[in-house]
Symmetry: C2
Subunit: 381 residues, 2 copies
């Protein structure tokens, strides 16, 4: 086992009607609240009203920033930061999925400083503090509700950057599975892919196997068992709860105990596809993971077989990859570039992008030859 540190101070409130504690929880951090959300589905389905009435009942003053995009961009973070500073907000409430919460994390750094928040994400500056962040999750996927990570795009620099800082742990996160029953079929599927991909990044990270291997497999297995049932029964709160818990466990630190690092190569590759083609994050991962496993087939066969045995009871690398691809297809997430409307024509732009941002894993390095093989697999698998 590698040396490791566990630290996760987020208070997670999980279950039905848990939102009734939102107002009193937020109030302890301040009276002036910046409410951050996306493009309107939270209004359409009533979550916005629910949250606002909770905050108002506790006598809180609400300022708003809406319009965060599914692949969030730094411009929104910058604009929200200005609104927050102008109104001297003391606490942020983020209502949404990964893009909203990730943005809110960076906003929480921005409001507490006089710097451009992008300079934190690119390590030019080190943030010293953040204002408190409370989240209300409406999409089970990224695990951002219980970690200190955020991913934001910058189209002007052509980067999609992941940034981790303990200042960005949400103080409190409210997870009511009934807030996720309106997630459409495709994003439900992408969320399941995302949580599985997070578990896999840890599984293929650096460090000797421990009990955490088995726990990681348990999380993926749960998603593989209940994900397809959920796809056929989108308003089933109990199934939503299972996937919601799986998604949190997949990236709240647990799967990395005893590891030096996760790998994160697949996420790096997927981020580039999202940057180029605005591919939803989960969709990019279900395309990249099978390709990555094919690339690693002869390099880490034992590890892949351990996964296949644990997940599917199979004994070979090929069967493992086939079963995983079949699962992604079953829940309706793409496994090839063709499925998202790309052809051989996009090959060179993808390779250029991979090269430009030097995409690799933290444990399993990728070079330009690997990039070529990966794109081949992604095109034709």
């Amino acid at each position: 086992m590698e040396n490791f540190t566990v630290y996760n101070p987020t208070r997670l409130h999980f279950g039905g009607n848990i939102i009734n504690n939102l107002g009193t929880t937020v109030k302890q951090y301040g009276k002036r609240v910046l409410l951050v959300y996306g493009k309107g589905s939270v209004k359409k389905y009533g979550y916005y009203d629910h949250v606002v009435s909770q905050l108002q009942e506790s006598g809180l003053e609400i300022f708003e920033y809406s319009g965060i995009k599914p692949n969030p961009i730094i411009e929104d973070v910058e604009k929200a930061t200005i609104i927050g500073k102008q109104n001297n907000v003391e606490v942020i409430v983020a209502l949404g999925g990964g893009s909203v919460i990730d943005s809110a994390k960076i906003i929480s750094l921005g409001i507490a400083s006089n710097e451009n928040p992008w300079d934190f994400m690119t390590w030019k500056l080190t943030p010293q503090k953040a204002i408190p962040l409370v989240t209300v999750l409406t999409l089970a996927a990224t695990g951002t509700e219980m970690n200190a990570a955020a991913v934001v795009q910058n189209h002007s620099t052509g980067q999609k950057v992941g940034y981790v800082n303990p200042l960005m742990f949400p103080k409190d996160s409210f997870l009511d599975p009934s807030f996720t029953v309106t997630v459409p079929k495709n994003y439900t599927s992408y969320g399941i892919v995302d949580l599985i991909a997070h578990s896999l990044e840890a599984f293929f990270g650096q460090g000797e196997p421990s009990v955490i291997d088995q726990i990681t497999i348990d999380i993926i297995k749960d998603a593989i068992q209940f994900g397809p049932l959920l796809m056929d029964d989108l308003t089933n709160v109990e199934l939503r709860a299972k996937i919601m818990l799986d998604a949190t466990l997949a990236l709240n630190g647990l799967t990395s105990y005893g590891k030096k690092s996760g790998d994160w190569g697949v996420h790096g590759l997927g981020h580039e596809l999202s940057l180029l083609f605005d591919t939803p994050h989960g969709a990019s991962l279900s395309i990249v993971y099978p390709a990555w496993l094919k690339l690693q087939k002869n390099r880490i066969p034992k590890r892949i077989i351990k996964l296949g045995k644990g997940l599917f009871g199979v004994d070979t690398v090929d069967e493992t990859i086939e079963k995983l691809m079949a699962f992604f297809m079953k829940i309706g997430s793409p496994v090839s570039l063709n499925e998202i409307g790309l052809s051989d024509d996009s090959r060179s732009s993808i390779l250029e992008q991979f090269k430009k941002n030097n995409v690799s894993g933290m444990h399993h390095n990728l070079n330009e030859v690997d990039h070529k093989k990966l794109v081949n697999f992604m095109l034709f698998q």
Copy 2:
């Protein structure tokens, strides 16, 4: 799934030589340190010198309380509290196993108040604050290093009381598996029993099964796989690390996600044996658990079989109990009262004690008829 809250702010430092960060970590909480430890084995094996030199290198002033007993008593807590207050200590370092750390948690409440700490444990008074606690673990067993619970005995009232308060989360816990290689064979065994029992208390708690069921089973499975190897190779640091991680995971909250409560009936029963006969905690649990499972045999057969299938691949309640007993015997922990020198003569005093403290579970209630059956099983299994 039941509604639940996750909150665990303890920073866990796990691995070899991790102790080198102790001084700088403690220093951030204050300069005057109360070092709490047990009866001398930490001196014998050099852990004490290691810790003291770390604290001294950081320029900290050390005050000491030693002599905490394996089943810790409130008198030691009270005496240590006085020493801490007299010397205006700002932070506690607990060097030891569960008894030392549990005592230190209550001491941390006592030093921050003007009350008798026993009044907190018996819910007469509510503590308002605690001074920071940093732990250095020398025994993998209770999980106290990453939770907010403490168990202390009071012989004058004839009680062994468990108390939980978020103020008692250690700020930091240092887990170097090499600090546990000198734990003697019997206490190594009791530690393994303890972590398994914690997992089982959660497994048999109140709440519908979720992915946490499988995670709980896998923690127990890891201990069942590697525990016996460790019993034959006590100085193997890698095996010590596995059991150490299992023990932390078994009671850091993870196994209770999605549960309303654990059961804790077996712990309640075991505590009474410890009170009466000074039975080591783990030894009491390996005696009580098989008896409790026999009592529940016809009440929750499906649940017990799920456990047996997950742990041992067996399909019946009887086989599950047999296999678990066989495991406890294999690692040298007693499974009957006879093995700890008790006979039928002790029956009435045990029953009286169970009755006096009204021992029951939080989920599976126990009445006097159950108590009688349990003692029968414990005597003759």
